[in-house]
Amino acid sequence: MSTTQLRKDVRPLTIDNVTVRFGALLALSEVSFSVEPGAVHAVIGPNGAGKSTMFNVLSGVYEVSEGEVRFGDEVLTGRKPHQIARLGVARAFQNIALSGSQTVVQNLMLGRHRLTTAGFVSAGLRLPKARNEEKRHTARVCEIAEFLELGNKLHVPVGVLSYGDQKRVEVARALSTEPRLLLLDEPVAGMNAEETARMAQTVLEIRDALGITVILVEHDMGMVMGIADRVTVLDFGRRIADGTPDEVQADPEVIRAYLGSGDETDPAAAAAHGTAEETP
């Protein structure tokens, strides 16, 4: 754990026996784990293991078939996404879900939605209250953009940004909600090694400076093992491991299901060949 000064309202997250079914498919099966307040907690696992599904449960997009998720005293399961957002849970999507025609600032201002109040009437009539609010929050959002190295792209429509920058906007938008719990789904996909390192750095900064909890889903093991305080591993919807990065990396089950031999550059070791020829 770091020397972080926790935000006072950051609570532990408890995932209790969560099951999600799609027809016959068990996307999550009796998964339980808990996330310490102020931790960077990684969730990893093979493709289709249920990581994004877990995020969909946490943010209220999917309903659980069984089980419960609690954030402090609040039960998250059964609530609508916007209600969960109001509790301070924010999410950056795996597949970018920004408004391409709107600028970076406008996209980030959407993150302020839960923190602001201007309605149709006061916004439409440009009442002073709405204008002041807009000004204050725009300033904050620019700070956040600055923090994610988007300072020189504030007024560019996000649709023309490169993939890496759009990923950064995703993270920035989630941060703009001033969350207590931040969910990041593959934030460095499509980034090169150097950019990945910078993003890893940013995640640590977020945790330390803001004192909030971060759950990270990522396939870049360098990043995960570098910054996670704790790692949960899913496979076929089941939790197969949970522990510190070192423990998890050494777990044979995890190596078999997910990591492979660890040396991807050596083709002989990759299971691929075997799969191609030995699968009945």
């Binding site: 943010s59 209220g60 997009v61 609508k80 996404p81 916007h82 969960i84 957002a85 109001r86 924010a90 999410r91 999507f93 597949n95 970018i96 879900a97 920004l98 408004s99 391409g100 025609s101 709107q102 406008q106 201002m109 959407l110 993150g111 302020r112 939605h113 839960r114 602001t116 201007a118 309605g119 149709f120 916004a123 439409g124 009539l125 440009r126 709405a130 609010e133 807009e134 020189n152 504030l154 007024h155 560019v156 429509p157 649709g159 023309v160 993939y163 759009q166 938008r173 909600t177 499509g190």
Partner: protein, 383 residues
């Protein structure tokens, strides 16, 4: 970046101001026909701006606009009109016109809110055609409910007045500016201009602020919007409310511009015309909707007024193409040309003239498909 944006904002302000001055001075120079056409255009602009909030901004394809216009128009004539009618008798409260106008706007809004739960279940073209059902059902209702509508031929609309200042009918008190007497047409022109300017101002404020951003994100990705804390159902209901209130006001002005209302006027055709306005104008922008509304509602009249002077036109009654047919050809052709050269609408043209950078996903993707418009979450979307 922000330097250029203040500069463009300045230019935009100057252009708008110049436009306003021209519009204010126009009644001193042009004929009544043009003022009346102008008033109809103002009404159309208000309706189109409202529809654009719904379709362009929020991505809810609606063809029900004619119905909401009808609610506004009928409420106005019923609340402010007197009982009458010879063949078919109809009722009326005879309240002051301003009351009728407000009631029209409110009732239309209410109708929109009532429809929104149905709308919430449907998407894309399915929503569009289902909302068309509202138009047919509404027309049937009006034809049947003759005590309100006056039946098939409709009923007269009371002239508007505000605190004793009449906008039609008796032209009192007498008013003349620079020697030009201000009669009904001139007065209506200013009424329309004022309401239209107000409606556009309100809508563009809305688009640039919290509710507008939420609506645009509902269009681009409902899931993302809700995860960011937007109550999607509530916002959809609200935008239906606002959009149909705009339609209601447009309906009231429509009644004033015709001087009467008949159920037949609020047909499928009117809905399609409104859709054409916002698409040809450019989805999502207030200026675009205004341009599109002017284009669709005035062009046929303008063409008919001038197509008589085309060389190949024959007098009505002679074999060949008469002026009004030529106007229809030209109008159809104009629609085709606009789409061919500016698929994103006339607003794109204006933007191109200003040579602003053009974001690739310019025109908001309102798809007529069943899927949520360009939802990046569907996995098939490029970066």
């Amino acid at each position: 970046m922000s330097d250029t944006s203040t500069a463009t904002r300045l230019v935009k302000g100057v252009v708008l101001l110049a436009l306003l001055v021209v519009l204010l001075a126009l009644p001193l120079y042009v004929e009544e026909f043009w003022l009346r056409t102008g008033f109809a255009v103002f009404a159309a602009i208000i309706g189109a701006v409202g529809l654009n909030l719904l379709v362009g901004t929020t991505g809810q394809l609606s063809l029900a606009h004619a119905f909401f216009l009808a609610v506004g128009a009928l409420t106005y004539v019923y609340v402010s009109g007197d009982p009458g009618g010879s063949a078919i008798e109809y009722g009326g409260f005879g309240l002051p016109p301003i009351v009728g106008m407000v009631a029209g706007v409110v009732m239309a809004g209410l109708a929109g809110v009532l429809f929104s739960p149905i709308a919430a279940r449907l998407r894309g073209i399915y929503l569009g055609v289902a909302s068309l059902g509202l138009v047919f059902i509404g027309q049937h209702l009006l034809n049947t409910w003759t005590s309100v509508s006056g039946g098939f031929n409709g009923r007269l609309a009371p002239a508007f007045d505000l605190f004793g200042f009449s906008f039609g009918g008796n032209e009192e008190p007498y008013l003349a500016v620079l020697g030009v007497p201000f009669g009904q047409a001139e007065r209506l022109w200013y009424l329309g201009l004022a309401l239209c300017a107000l409606a556009c101002w309100f809508a563009s404020n809305l688009l640039r602020s919290r509710p507008g951003r939420a609506l645009q994100n509902v269009r681009d990705s409902e899931v993302a919007a809700s995860v960011m804390g937007v109550n999607v159902q509530e916002y959809k209901a609200k935008v239906f409310l606002v959009s149909s209130m705009y339609a209601g006001l447009a309906g009231v002005l429509y009644a004033l511009s015709i001087g009467s209302v008949a159920p037949e006027s609020f047909s499928l055709l009117l809905s399609v015309q409104y859709l054409a306005m916002i698409v040809l104008g450019g989805l999502g922008s207030v200026g675009g909707a205004a341009m599109g509304a002017a284009f669709v509602s005035a062009l046929p009249l303008v063409l008919q007024q001038y197509s008589g002077s085309l060389p190949f036109i024959v007098e009505p009654g002679q074999p060949g193409i008469v002026a009004s047919q030529a106007a229809a050809f030209l109008y159809g052709g104009a629609i085709v040309l606009v789409v061919m050269f500016e698929p994103g609408g006339l607003a794109g043209l204006a933007r191109r003239l200003k040579r602003q950078p053009r974001p690739p996903q310019e025109s908001p993707p309102v798809s007529t498909t069943s899927s949520a418009p360009a939802d990046s979450s569907s996995g098939g979307t490029p970066r």
